[in-house]
């Protein structure tokens, strides 16, 4: 298999060269130079060069393609055009490929130059096929260019209508909640029978003045027979107040307190002056 034997197959034949976008560069070599930017990379340029071998699109010669590419790049360099690095790398690689294809080979290289050339050809075929497909796609009857949708469609609208849900209970309950929330809140403090600390102080010191003996604290509380004395709440209050009064009198040095056991009865007596 020689490099010249590498063919583009039939699918490449008859390919239209039309596609939208930048026009394909013209045949003139000068134009070729000027439109270096018109190619999208070395593969694109190679494909374009391949298409120029118009003699027979079916039998593109890889060797002459390589030559064309290298000549093209060299001449561009001669004109001191700035050439992107990837074009130069491709040129170097193609030069290597060419020499490999031409020189007799001693050792078996892997992959062989023929295989590399074949792969390059396959790539060019695929790019060419897609370029042609793009052209045919763009040439179809396109909506908005060749065929048109209705200019002013009324549009289909689905209106969502809310069906609100609420029942009698929810309504009445809500009203109850409003009422409850906004009702004036009144705090009532009920009158309770109490003995104040002041009256307990008076009462305890007066009663202590009567005797020098120890007296149990209960003896200072109002008698059951006194007015309201049968109210247990008054008894409780009087006990608490009298106890505090006893402590106060002891602090002032007017009374002594005695308790013989924990929780035992509490006694007090006057401190003799």
């Amino acid at each position: 298999m020689t490099a010249d034997g590498l063919l583009f197959d039939a699918a490449e034949a008859g390919a239209g060269t039309e596609w939208e976008g930048p026009a394909a560069p013209t045949d003139s070599d000068v134009a070729l130079y000027l439109e270096l930017d018109g190619w999208e990379g070395p593969l694109d340029l190679l494909l374009d060069l391949a298409r120029r071998q118009k003699v027979d699109l079916k039998s593109i010669s890889i060797l002459s393609l390589v030559d064309q590419y290298i000549v093209y790049i060299e001449r561009a360099e001669a004109l001191k055009l700035e050439i992107a690095a990837d074009y130069l790398v491709m040129a170097a690689w193609l030069a290597y490929l060419k020499s490999s294809l031409l020189l007799p080979r001693d050792e078996q290289e892997d992959p062989s130059p023929e295989e590399l050339a074949l792969k390059l050809q396959l790539r060019l075929q695929r790019l060419g096929a897609m370029r042609e497909a793009a052209g045919r796609l763009m040439g179809r009857d396109r909506l908005g260019r060749d065929v048109f949708a209705r200019g002013a469609p009324e549009g289909l609208k689905v209106l969502r209508k809310n069906a609100w849900q609420c029942d009698w209970y929810q309504l009445v309950h809500a009203y109850g909640q409003v009422k409850l929330r906004t009702e004036t809140v009144v705090h009532m403090v009920r009158e309770r029978p109490v003995m104040t600390l002041d009256s307990a102080l008076d009462r305890v010191s007066a009663m202590l003045g009567v005797t020098l003996d120890w007296m149990e604290i209960r003896a200072f509380l109002p008698k059951r027979t006194d007015k309201g004395g049968d109210d247990p709440r008054l008894q409780k209050s009087a006990l608490a107040s009298s106890f505090v009064a006893a402590l106060e009198l002891a602090r002032m040095g007017k009374a002594e307190i005695r308790q013989e056991e924990i929780f035992g009865p509490l006694h007090l007596r006057r401190v003799s002056a």
Binding site: F148, A152, L159, R160, C166, W168, Y175, K179
Partner: protein, 220 residues
């Protein structure tokens, strides 16, 4: 099955179809290199007469449009069941018990501001209507319930609504219940997607819907 259609008729048909505005016969003609399009228009008009699309002339200008008897296809209504938010329910109840009331009065009774959306919802539901204006400074709009309200809630008149004493007797004024229900409502709102509808409404109504805040402005 299909007869060939005259070229000019086809051209007029396509031109009017693609047009963004109705076109006069002269405009169509100018578009089609001066052809006389009147016959074509008549032919199209007759052709489309029994169809779902019609070619109509309005003020000397021609246009295609959907057949009038199929207009309902263009705007379909879909009903969506939505639960009334708590705020809206309260406002509705206040209107029902106190009508006619102004918005300021509703707010005074509720103790919180009422968003405009809340009254809109009630009017959209067809339960509340604006019933004139109160003849006081500012002439506020006053609201009342509608006959639809009575029929929806199965009431023959507003007097059928239970009084405060009856509410109390029914336990509807029980504060424990209230707290409990608040808790339950919060819990419901936190869980599953089945309550999303309710949540939507809550969002619409904004701050009104936030339970605990409703206790009163003194919270802030």
């Amino acid at each position: 099955m299909n007869q060939p259609v005259d070229d000019l008729v086809r051209a007029v048909e396509a031109t009017l179809f693609a047009a963004e505005e109705p076109m006069s016969a002269e405009q169509i003609s100018a578009h089609l290199e001066g052809a006389d399009v009147r016959d074509a228009l008549r032919e199209l008009e007759a052709h489309y007469a029994p169809r779902g699309i019609k070619l109509v002339e309005r003020g000397k200008r021609w246009q295609f449009q959907t057949a009038p008897d199929l207009a309902h296809l263009l705007r379909r209504e879909k009903e969506q069941l939505r639960r009334l938010s708590r705020a809206a329910t309260e406002v509705l109840a206040i209107i029902a018990y106190h009508e006619p009331v102004s918005r300021a009065e509703i707010e005074a009774i509720r103790g919180v501001q009422t968003s405009a959306g809340t009254l809109d919802v009630l009017m959209e539901a067809g339960w509340v209507r604006a019933a004139g204006r109160r003849e006081v400074p500012g002439r506020p709009v006053i609201y009342a319930t509608t006959p639809d309200f009575l029929s929806h809630f199965g009431l023959s008149s507003r007097r059928d609504l239970p009084g405060i004493d009856e509410l109390k007797a029914a336990g509807l004024l029980d504060p424990v219940d209230d707290a409990f229900e608040d808790l339950m409502e919060q819990k419901t709102a936190d869980t599953g997607p089945d309550t999303s509808e309710q949540d939507d409404t809550a969002v619409e109504d904004g701050p009104d819907e936030v339970g605990p805040d409703e206790v009163g402005p003194d919270e802030n």
